[in-house]
Symmetry: C3
Subunit: 137 residues, 3 copies
């Protein structure tokens, strides 16, 4: 059985929080992992991953807006590719989340979803999911 799986996605805009909860749950089933944790890892430097509210999409819009305020696009950056803000936001969100798994299901909280955080799209992107088993003795 595989130790990890890859999820491919197409992001729709320059900045977008894309719900990948269903894809992460499918990866858990296919690995499969019953007890432990899933590492959800983004191998890019202008995107990250975060866990937040799954019900009201306005929360994602508010995170985008606040990150833009904290990391404006027009600061005197030295990186010349025009996406320095995307690199900074990627480090603020982080390159991975780790989600507990028990009884064969993701232990996300009631209101939690997993979001791919695109900061320099639209692009084809990948997410790596690794099964980390808990002790079962």
């Amino acid at each position: 059985m595989p130790a990890l799986l890859t999820i491919a996605l197409q992001t729709p805009r320059r900045v977008a929080f894309v719900d990948i909860t269903t894809e992460v749950e499918r990866a858990r089933r296919e690995l499969p992992l019953a007890e432990g944790a899933l590492l959800v890892y983004v191998p890019h430097t202008t995107a990250g991953v975060t866990i937040n509210e799954n019900a009201d999409p306005s929360v994602r819009a508010d995170i985008e807006m606040t990150l833009d305020r904290m990391v404006p696009g027009d600061l005197p950056y030295t990186h010349r590719e025009g996406n320095a803000d995307a690199h900074v936001k990627a480090s603020l969100m982080g390159a991975s989340v780790t989600v507990p798994v028990a009884g064969g299901r993701l232990l996300l909280g009631t209101w939690q979803g997993v979001y791919f955080a695109e900061f320099d799209g639209p692009r084809r992107r990948q997410v790596v999911v690794v099964a980390l088993p808990a002790r079962t003795d």
Copy 2:
């Protein structure tokens, strides 16, 4: 033996960094885990978890103050529940920390403690602790 344990806590204010280091160490003993890492996971969307200074409580006050400056409560948020700032702060701190374990103890640095970061309390909250064993062959 269980693969994970849950810590329950009551947070005291709207915004509060609650020291849960003792509870995390107790979870390590009860699981028990001797070598590997503990995943400390917050299943909420208006709270997070972070590792920082365990000696001087003013550090937590300074983190609260700086996060308030970065994510003010009165921005033109679209989320209508009055806690949009709490969601943004939760993603900035993150939903989990992972702490090394060796020789049957948490490898926290001398000055490190584990803090539940409440941004929309006071509330009853939970923290999930998962034992991830290291290779022992």
Copy 3:
């Protein structure tokens, strides 16, 4: 075989992003880990670790500049040691990253490197690396 290894480093300035990718890869070989994930953990409270662009050093300079703008050194902090900003930045970057390992190599993206994020140097620092194996049955 050991479950974890420690990397020692000397940081060069008060604020510096030090590339530790080579040291992390060496730790992977020495542990050794073929399939799973490496936890890269910083046991300090005025430094963190992040994953970002490995090609253009201006990206690290831009992250330093933006963090300084978000967390200025001259806010009315209550922590009296003159390094309150360093504590806040440490929590924003985080105390650990977790990197997938498959086929005996780190699954960092093409442009990703692992950076020790010093915010109160120059100092002697340590990084703990823990091997977390994937399921291999």
